[in-house]
């Protein structure tokens, strides 16, 4: 009897319950072996992972440390003007090579036994390599060239730097596809980004629950009541969902109708006067026209863990970093552009209130993943139902669909061989 219980305990995991994309088993958010497999097959596999912004490494010697899944990674600009990225793991006994989040350096020296690396991640020095007074030291056969930390391929899209451990992943532009690539370009728009602030939101849930949430256009007007409570919804909006063929990347967008847009440069005019609740200071939402189109919201994700956000004039990149099966760090980088006027910059600072850990419309996203993680705690054998809008992963004009959530699982299963 006891044997049976123990046996059945390890049983439910590991087999996807059906071919359909409309069911997702809850063990996928709980299982330690799955987490380990994700690191290998997704993060260290044929993915392009967000690393940083090129503008964060302006000068020769600038470096940052960032994450690809669990793996700490160094990105540095060398004297040839190029960026290089390599694992932040000493080739000797595995200590972190760089401890700081950012800085400027000629080279990197591991604190443990002072092995040194150049800015391209090549091992350049081994302390006491030849021993002291002819005694000790590394064997003559030891070849430094064979002991570099793993290097990443790098690619940039409009100043956003992605890295990959894989030699098999297609070039970034091809991997993203024209629709996703061009809409990253739409936001960056040939301008020079300026970091306005960085924050980390610690999420009490599995990383995939956050990515589901990002792709879930169904919840937006239901969970987030800020706009509806203050009756700030736009008069007439169009929009839609774009899911790339792999399923892994998506865009959710909404736009004001061209006619409504005409006399609508400032959101103030959209605010209904008969609302029970009114903003005491509606300047929070006084937008400026930043883009030639009428798109006021564009949430874009790149598989596995990158999000680029335009919510009116609040622009941000979000990097999702798994921290174990039930923990995730969400790194926010709020952006402006060097071209901003002081008035435009102030608008961005005010609209930053919409996002981040205290965001009027995103604080809920910080807790809802935890509600799921806790809700499913005793239900690893049960499944989520993801049928809104059907069973496919097609792009659509309706946002009352879970097509891009299904898309995530399509890409995930393909990568995990599930």
């Amino acid at each position: 009897m006891l044997d049976q219980i123990i046996h059945s305990k390890s049983e439910p995991g590991h087999i996807w319950p059906s071919e359909s994309l409309t069911r997702v088993p809850y063990w996928i958010f709980q299982d330690r072996d799955t987490y380990v497999a994700e690191q290998k097959l997704i993060f260290q596999g044929p993915s392009w992972n967000y690393l940083c912004l090129s503008v964060e490494l302006k000068n020769t010697g600038d470096f940052i440390t960032t994450f690809v899944g669990d793996t700490s990674v160094i990105v540095a600009r060398d004297s040839d003007g190029e960026l290089y990225a390599f694992e932040n793991r000493c080739a000797h006994r595995g200590a972190l090579i760089a401890l700081e989040q950012r800085g400027n350096t000629k080279d990197f020296s591991c604190v443990y036994h002072a092995w040194t690396y150049d800015r391209q991640g090549n091992l350049r020095g081994v302390a006491f390599k030849d021993g002291i007074k002819g005694k000790g030291g590394m064997p003559a056969s030891f070849c430094m060239e064979e002991h570099n930390p793993r290097k990443l391929r790098l690619a940039e899209a409009f100043g956003i730097v992605f890295g990959s451990f894989s030699n098999d992943v297609p070039p970034l532009e091809e991997h993203l596809g024209e629709e996703i690539y061009s809409r990253i370009g739409r936001v960056m728009n040939g301008r020079t980004p300026v970091v306005l602030g960085r924050f980390t939101q610690a999420l009490p849930n599995n990383w995939k629950l956050y990515m589901e949430n990002v792709k879930d256009s169904y919840h937006a007007s239901i969970l987030h009541l800020f706009f509806t409570t203050f009756e700030l919804n736009r008069l007439s909006q169009t929009g839609g969902i774009i899911v790339d063929p792999s399923g892994g990347h998506h865009i959710s967008f909404s736009a004001i109708e061209p006619d409504a847009a005409k006399d609508n440069e400032y959101a103030e005019q959209d605010i209904r006067s008969d609302s029970e609740f009114k903003l005491a200071d509606p300047s929070l939402l006084q937008s400026f026209k930043e883009f030639p189109d009428n798109v006021t919201l564009q949430i874009l994700s790149v598989f596995p863990t990158f999000v680029l956000q335009q919510i009116q004039n609040a622009i941000a990149v979000r990097q999702v970093v798994p921290r174990g099966t039930g923990r995730t760090d969400l790194h926010w980088t709020l952006l402006g552009f060097a071209e901003d006027t002081p008035e435009q910059r102030l608008v961005r600072l005010k609209q930053a209130n919409l996002v981040g850990p205290a965001g009027y419309i995103s604080m809920e996203d910080g807790c809802v993943g935890g509600f799921v993680q806790r809700g499913i705690a005793g239900a690893s054998g049960e499944q989520a139902v993801i049928e809104m809008g059907g069973a496919d992963t097609d792009s659509s004009e309706s946002r009352v669909t879970e097509a891009s959530v299904r898309g995530f699982w399509k890409a995930y299963r393909a990568r995990m061989g599930m």
Partner: protein
């Protein structure tokens, strides 16, 4: 003279944290001047001169809107804070204004009973003295850590 100012600031700050910790958020904006700045940021952002806050308000109206949104719109699990403040350190003072710096320690008590250190940091303040009834003209809340657990709903 310094001691008088310290007492005065201490008194106002005591009332400020009591207001938040007792859940009387509607009264919280009244600690500020009409034209005020309230910003929550991190030590890293502050040191690097990065302007954006986790919360940024440049009017008392925006603070009222925060409270209204927390009460009527935002969804989050019920929790309360307990603030502990250090003594204000007076940075500058003249007959109209006082600049001060005060350490804070905030514990967060969740609905289920879990009590955690939620944030530590310092208030960088400019008070307008208003003849003995000081109000905050500027409060920059500099959190020591850049990590915010789950969300930041209630003000610091």
């Amino acid at each position: 003279m310094i001691q008088d100012v310290v007492n005065l600031i201490n008194h106002v700050q005591g009332a400020y944290v009591r207001c938040i910790d007792n859940g009387q958020l509607e009264a919280w904006p009244d600690f500020f001047e009409e034209n005020c700045t309230y910003k929550i940021t991190t030590a890293d952002n502050y040191a690097q001169g990065l302007e954006a806050g986790v919360i940024f308000a440049n009017s008392r109206g925006m603070l009222r809107d925060r409270v209204a949104s927390l009460r009527e719109a935002n969804i989050y699990e019920r929790h309360v804070y307990r603030h502990f403040l250090g003594q204000p350190w007076i940075l500058a003072e003249d007959s109209a204004d006082v600049s001060s710096e005060t350490s804070f320690f905030v514990a967060r008590i969740m609905r289920g009973g879990a009590t955690d250190v939620y944030a530590t940091g310092r208030y960088l303040d400019v008070y307008r003295l208003n003849g003995g009834a000081p109000k905050i003209r500027e409060r920059i809340v500099v959190c020591d850590s850049s990590r915010f657990d789950t969300l930041l709903a209630l003000p610091l």
